[in-house]
Chain length 241, copies 2
């Protein structure tokens, strides 16, 4: 640069000063382009920094998770239940449901042996039972006896369901997938049984009557389902931005 900035106070007359002023204006303009505008953009970025994504590592923090109770018979024919949240419907034709269990669970061995299980969906009133079923092993205790709930032998598959729970899926094991600590059990849904009291006008289970609840991995709490925030069908028309 022919005109170092530290020489700007060395001008001797008006004309030279005028030239230098023009030069400084040009420098200022360049500085505006080179420094100030990107800096302003940076400020915008910083303004949204609170919304920037933070890496949490490879963790199983997806939510919301269902709270479902898996029913099975052990080798001696004793009915057992355990609570699972890593579960979902996984196929419509044929209708199938998947639940992932650790090998260490008592239910793991039972389903491997019996090739059947039930998925029992508790309503809010059974939140204590669901927590209990997920906290002790059927190897050590008779959870039905301890909870006072009633096992009913399915007429369709070799597994018991919980009489008091309002929605039940009777499943025959069709596939297991070894993934690591967990094994995925895939069951074909042979029948769904529901308490009449949880059916809506269309004959299907109504979430506001069924009152299922969810598990939040972040704090290990259970939460009830709240208000409707719209119909999936109506909203398919598209977002209105």
């Amino acid at each position: 640069m022919p005109y170092p900035m530290n020489q700007q106070l060395q001008f001797r007359d008006g004309r030279e000063m005028e030239e230098r002023m023009r030069f400084l204006q040009a420098v200022a303009a360049v500085l505006l382009l080179v420094v100030a505008i990107p800096a302003a953009a940076l400020c915008v970025e910083e303004a949204t920094a609170g919304d920037e994504m933070k890496s949490l590592g490879a963790k199983t923090l997806a939510q919301p998770c269902p709270v479902w109770v898996i029913g099975s018979y052990d080798a001696a024919g004793k009915p057992n239940v355990m609570t699972a949240s890593w579960a979902a419907i996984c196929c419509s034709q044929p209708p199938m449901v998947t639940v992932s269990l650790r090998k260490a669970t008592y239910t793991y061995g039972s389903i491997m042996e019996s090739k059947a299980f039930t998925v029992n969906i508790p309503s809010e009133e059974f939140v204590k039972e669901a927590a209990y079923f997920g906290s002790v092993s059927g190897k050590d205790v008779d959870k039905f006896a301890a909870s006072g709930l009633t096992p009913v032998k399915s007429a369709l598959v070799n597994a018991p369901y919980v009489k008091e729970f309002p929605l039940v899926f009777e499943c025959k094991l069709v596939k297991t997938v070894e993934l690591g600590l967990h094994t995925m059990f895939i069951g074909e849904i042979v029948d769904v049984k529901a308490s009449e009291s949880v059916l809506g006008a269309n004959g299907m289970p109504d979430v506001t009557k069924l009152k299922p609840f969810i598990f939040a991995p972040g704090n290990a709490d259970f939460y009830r389902i709240g208000a409707s925030i719209g119909s999936g069908k109506e909203q398919e028309k598209g977002p209105k931005k």
Copy 2:
């Protein structure tokens, strides 16, 4: 029976009548045991008939279901998103998530090709976008452009995530399982990214800040998460019947 009931009016004298009366009392006692007591038990069964289970057939009516948005690149590198509810965490070590998709979806082909996907969890404010993403095909439209949301290329896997969504899972495809109409995609979670605004005091996503929502298959509506109904940990002490 030596004393048919239709002969009870044919007795001729007191003695014979007395004998027959004793016989009839015995018959009545037997009838009470054989007919009346089981009939009373039947009445008890009938009294609870309102809570008896009704068969709904083999249907995929399990709930609550999550509402997650799956991000992927198509063969041309165009970012696409679709909404899925048949999805769950399926393994803790290594951390994995599963989502079931029909072959007919555009995302199916994209994930098969790219071997990667993201799971993006929308908060309530994006319910319209989630419904829209589940209603049209990326084959026909650019859903990011149509919704005004921003695709961000993951630095870890070959898939885009939704910048505006508060919780994102970056996944590499590790397995597919053909089940029927649906195929199960199993992805290893490489990283979880969260908006700082949804993290709780423990640094984990807080459901009350994240505000995810659920899908209810019975009426195809979306519902928000409601109040806490207790800690899974505290309640593990067992049910208090």
